[in-house]
Amino acid sequence: MRPASEAELSETIRGAGGPLRVVGGGTRGPGNLPGVALETGGLAGVRLYEPGALTLVAGAGTPLAEVEALLAGERQRLAFEVPDLRQLLGREGVSTLGGVAAANAGGPRRVQAGAARDSLIGLRFVDGAGHVVKNGGRVMKNVTGYDLVKLLAGSHGTLGVITEVSLKLQAMPEAETTLIAEGLDDATALTRLRAALGTPYDVSGAAHIGGRTLLRIEGLEGSVAYRAGALRSVLGGDWVLASRAESAALWRQVRDVAPFAGAAGAIWRLVVRPSAAAGIVAALPGARAVYDWGGGLIWLLTEARADVRAAVAGHGHAMLIRPLPGMTVPVFPAEAPAVAALSRGLRAKFDPRGILNAGVMG
């Protein structure tokens, strides 16, 4: 099913006799879900773009690439650097804004600019009973009523089908430089990254990937040159600099977890206290790691079929992004009972029949 309007979508949901599987571009959502496919492609198109106010409003089915191209024309972009996980997950198709919002996507720049939730300033959605709801708006500062935008961001299609999003944008920087160190062990590399994030030099990327340790700075030419120099002297050791296009290519690899694309094994996404990262990985023999966010995000590749969550306990949480065939470990971590009760209560309110992406989040 592919409703052509929000009203039609509402009708479709009201009339649904069973589970629905919400599909944007099919590039990042959960794989095999029960139910009839409900596509958002008919709800596409940019409805408002004001470069001088850094705001964009577009239908949820609008392809991400189309928006990125439009913004690039004005030298603007989405701040949160959406990962392209198609290679990693073995998917095809094109990402849509709705999917990006529902998954609360966020790439390396999260350390500086947050994830999708932090750029989302408004949205419209149709809940599981067919009610059309709007929340937030098209202005950057808005505390009118509850922030359902945050609740829907990262709800993976379970509370409602997002039909329109409003986003705060960012200007593209004039310059970008990456500092690269080679051959540091994980613990040393991550210590350097955390130290860099604790300086006033406005680091916008801090990753350790394939034996290389990367720090990104963005901004005006003179400022980037100054901060690169300052970071090198504060951190010590050998750092070489990568220029603009070369730098951008490095961060695409981090963003998309390129080293794990096509590699066999289960893939986990761990969000943790950065200082615990190296220890967590060391406790999982045989696992390979890509570290982002100064260690706050670990992409883990492992042949093991077991749950890695015991290693993370108390330091954060883990999501199973790509299971091995036949693995029975839950995708999402279990919530504490009282928190689970609240989540369950919200699902029951917003989707009383439990038909939207049923069971996705556990």
Partner: protein, 477 residues
Amino acid sequence: MEMPLPDPSVLSRRAAIVAGLRAILPGDAVIDDPAETRAYECDGLAAYRCAPLAAVLPRTTGEVAAVLAFCHRQGVPVVPRGAGTSLSGGAMPTADCVILGVARMNAVLETDYDNRFIRVQSGRTNLSVTGAVEAEGFFYAPDPSSQLACAIAGNVAMNSGGAHCLKYGVTTNNLLGVTLVQMDGTVVELGGPWAETAGLDLLGVVCGSEGQLGVVTEATLRILPKPEGARPVLVGYASNAVAGECVSDIIKAGILPVAIEFMDRPCIRACEAFAKAGYPDCEALLIIEVEGSPAEIDEQLTRIKAIALRHNPVELREAADEEQARRIWLGRKSAFGAMGQINDYMCLDGTIPVSALPHVLRRIGEMSAEFGLEVGNVFHAGDGNMHPLILFDANKPGDLERCEAFGAEILKLCVEVGGCLTGEHGVGIEKRDLMGVQFEAADMEAQMAVKDVFDPRWLLNPAKVFPLEISAGRRAG
């Protein structure tokens, strides 16, 4: 302002309820003497007052949980309170409520510079959070003008902003986790000292829920390394429209100042008379501040000045040193005080798309004449959050009502041009009855459904945010 009638069954059990609270808390933590409960009868929206049944000042999450569980069993409404600086009446009591104040819960629980967070009890004031980490070169970014007094509890409840949120975001963008006590006494941990949660973003919806979903007792906050320095420029223009274009051009040029503040002529004149900051007498004044090392500041200001000059300013002044920077900010920082010097004032807080600025200021000027009340505008221009200050005389019969009617018209105008009723002060009781201007019934129903889940009996701060007629059935239950 209409408030629901107090529950007679609660009022009649007053003595037993107070005794019950005394059994839970140490003696000095329960206040029921009318001479003392008066201290809690209003918040920063001082036009509306009502003494609570009692006030309690617990010291721990455990005590908060015990108080809430007790009130839940007794069916007593609870109004959480931080420092009481809300400008929307969010912490205003009803006669049948217990005020739960977190002012005594102000400890720093953990500072972790390596992972860049601090965990505090929620009664700690905003400024003292920065105070706790600045020796190590860090700060907590959201900086409401009330930061000396307001508590993190209120900041979380209101999702408060500040002068520097153009670069650093508002509370929700800097909040990593909370300890929340639900009305029935259940304690939940939401988020933690890591970047995001895995399940539904309950933390995201608690932030900005105006004390209606639970009582926040602890908060984990992101702290940031302090920038090397900051410097403002002041630019005066002969027209609001031109000043608006200048702001838009700076943003389009890809420069990100930490603050762009805008003042209109009535406000400039009031500030000048009050603080003598040496502002030019013009229609619109911008204060633009950038951060970084001296060379980085020069680089940014060179571009900003070039843009500003293209629009023919009547004055452009860059701070050459700390003292000049202080003078540039002096007038802006004393804006509220300056307006208060002239008369009583009401501070509004709508947000508009930046492009609508000239139109909105023109309409406000026309309405000012119609209502016969003066208004001055201060405005976080980078993000469209405006603070019209309407002057009135509280001692003149009818003036407050006229002022409120004028305020309501301004907020409706904000919504009409694509903005919203409140950018940072919250709905409270002040904008409660205007919610229908911005939202359809289904929009509010969805928000109330969240409260139904967290607080099924609607005992927490129940008469706020949603128009009384639409929340009536729920509150009664």
